[in-house]
Amino acid sequence: MERLDGRLGFWSAGPIALMLTAFFLAPMVVIAAFSVMPQRVFEFTQMPDFSSYRVIFEQRIYMPLVWSLGMALVATLILFVICWPLAFAMAKVFKRFTLVVTIGVVMTLFVSENIRLFGWILTLMRGGLIEGHLRAWTGLSFESPLYDIPAIVFGLVYVYLPFMLFPLAQGISMVPDDARQAAVDLGASRWRVLWEIELPLAAPGIMVGGLLTFVLAAGAMAEAKLLGGQAVVVISDEIETAFTFGQNWPLGSALAILLIAIIGSLAVFAVSRLDLDALMGRKRS
């Protein structure tokens, strides 16, 4: 019986394995292959010359990548700082009110990201909700914060807040209350408890939240296009341009591979240091 079960299990994993190979792995292989082709070719029959990678560094096309990773890093750090108190309250203080916060935050995900970003444009633009009212009531005016880098980071923070908040709350809920109380009893100040007990014990949640927001923000495009008004070009935008207007598939592929390599190694590093079992509530061995 056991052997039959094993064989059935093996064969029933077949369809999904085939599908993943065809629709996930194959495009990656195609991209990887294109990335080593000469410039502006549309077939694999050329000799690979890795010229795209040279072009990226010689013509400083890596700048969008730097911008994307930099803004993603700043957004992730800001999110961590602003989400920690709320996540702490959700995990340890709010009790039933946590559900209200959860529903409130999740509700925002029901509306398309672009529509929400347009909402911010109407709010923040000159003559928009804030500046318009201020001018009508007091005669004072100010420059719109839109179309600059801080506006992009604000957009990233706004859009990816749930992806930091919920893992963080999950991580904090894993910190035993009596470990915190014991630390206080043994003389630790509030900051010492945060540093010695809460941050290390909530680390899996911090890792997951940080990884999710960083990866999503690094690949984000809408915030830079809508709120940033092309103040900077982000990597997803650059890749899209290379494939479409630029008609340079090898360059786009090389940029994509670079992004995948950086984010992939980061994710592998983080996940390898992570006790996923503990996060899922299973017992530590």
Binding site: P176, D178, A179, Q181, A182, A183, V184, D185, L186, G187, A188, S189, R192, E196, I197, P200, L201, R284, S285
Partner: protein
């Protein structure tokens, strides 16, 4: 054990309310320097609330707490020179055994070398070998974790060491071992220990004094032997183990109660009671014995042997009297010449072993 005139900790008129619920009603308590005091009570009696106030994890609604000559009831736990061993032990799972023990020293800014020296001293004090220093908490057994938690608390070098039922989750044999070790540790360190538990046995084995709690008040505080032999209420008598209780009324020359006529000749139990006053006569089962024909005792009753329980070293018997009441008898196993179940028996005890609880 030295009893100073000034207690190391004094609670005066301490109240704790949670909304409408009053968890502590005007609690007064003196903790003596160097004693092993155990606070015993059933769950919900307020003992955990009390210990949280004493270590500073909560503030009293009313009343004062003094540590020697300093008033501390508003001082938070991290500013008090006391510490507690938690029921869950509250060890830090992400730190090694050594780091756990060194934690209070690290907070105080003691340098690494001195910290390690002290941690190793404490490990050996608690009979854990040196190689535990680098072990993870997850690799330690239940008993080893108890010792690590104790070592960590001792590293803090508290004025008073509190315990919140740390042994309750352990199996019987390990609990017995650790009870003795704790008592021994108390003697060796000379520190003041305040221990809370719902287990009377734990309290009896370890404590110098026992305080019995009931519904947010102390019912009785005193040496273990006194509380066992001379409880001031039915509650304490019943809480301190199996007991026979007989309602009695003071008569001119003794006590009377439902078929018991006891001549006290003006001394012994109930001597200071007014005639007509009500009370409860208490006798512990181990003071009651089976009487053979012609054997005498101050007080005797007859009935049928109803049941027998083996408690290991002792046996316990229940004798059903004619009026439906039961009398518990306890005897050492070896002396077991007890009659078979169902037999008619006479049991008796002496006045010297009785204690009279006056009606309040």
């Amino acid at each position: 054990m030295s009893h100073d005139h000034h207690p190391i900790m004094r609670l005066a008129g301490v109240y704790k309310r949670f909304g409408d619920f009053t968890a502590l009603h005007s609690v007064d308590l003196d903790v003596h320097e160097g004693e092993f005091l155990t606070i015993v009570g059933p769950s919900g009696s307020g003992k955990t609330t009390l210990i949280r106030l004493m270590v500073g994890m909560d503030e009293p609604t009313d009343g004062t707490i003094w540590l020697r000559s300093a008033r501390i009831d508003q001082v938070p736990a991290n500013k008090r020179p006391t510490c507690m061993v938690f029921q869950s032990l509250a060890l830090f799972p992400h730190r090694s055994v050594g780091q756990n023990i060194e934690f209070p020293l690290k907070i105080r800014g003691v340098n690494q070398g001195d910290r390690k020296t002290r941690a190793l001293e404490l490990l050996s004090l608690l009979r854990l070998s040196e190689h535990y220093y680098h072990k993870r908490i997850g690799q330690c057994s239940g008993g080893e974790r108890q010792r690590v938690a104790l070592a960590r608390a001792l590293a803090f070098d508290p004025e008073i060491l509190f315990f919140d039922e740390p042994l309750s989750a352990l199996d019987y044999r390990l609990r017995k071992t650790l009870e003795r070790e704790l008592k021994d540790l108390h003697a060796r360190t000379g520190k003041t220990f305040v221990y809370i538990t719902h287990s009377l046995e734990e309290a009896m084995v370890m404590s110098d004094r026992i305080a019995i709690m009931r519904e947010g008040r102390f019912e009785q505080i005193g040496p273990a032997e006194e509380i066992y032999a001379k409880p001031i209420s039915r509650f304490v008598a019943e809480f301190m183990g199996e007991v026979n209780l007989f309602p009695v009324v003071k008569a001119a020359d003794g006590l009377e109660g439902q078929g018991l006529a006891i001549k006290t000749n003006g001394h012994g139990a109930g001597a200071d009671m007014q005639p007509g006053a009500r009370g409860t006569l208490m006798v512990r089962p181990e003071a009651v014995r089976f009487l053979s024909v012609g054997e005498a005792a101050d007080i005797t009753v007859s009935g049928r042997l109803h049941s027998e329980y083996r408690l290991g070293s002792r046996n316990q018997y229940e004798v059903a009297l004619a009026d439906g009441r039961h009398v518990a008898v306890e005897a050492l196993r070896q002396t077991g010449h007890a009659p078979p179940p169902g037999a008619e028996v006479t049991v008796g005890w002496d006045l010297a072993h009785c204690h009279l609880i006056a009606e309040t």
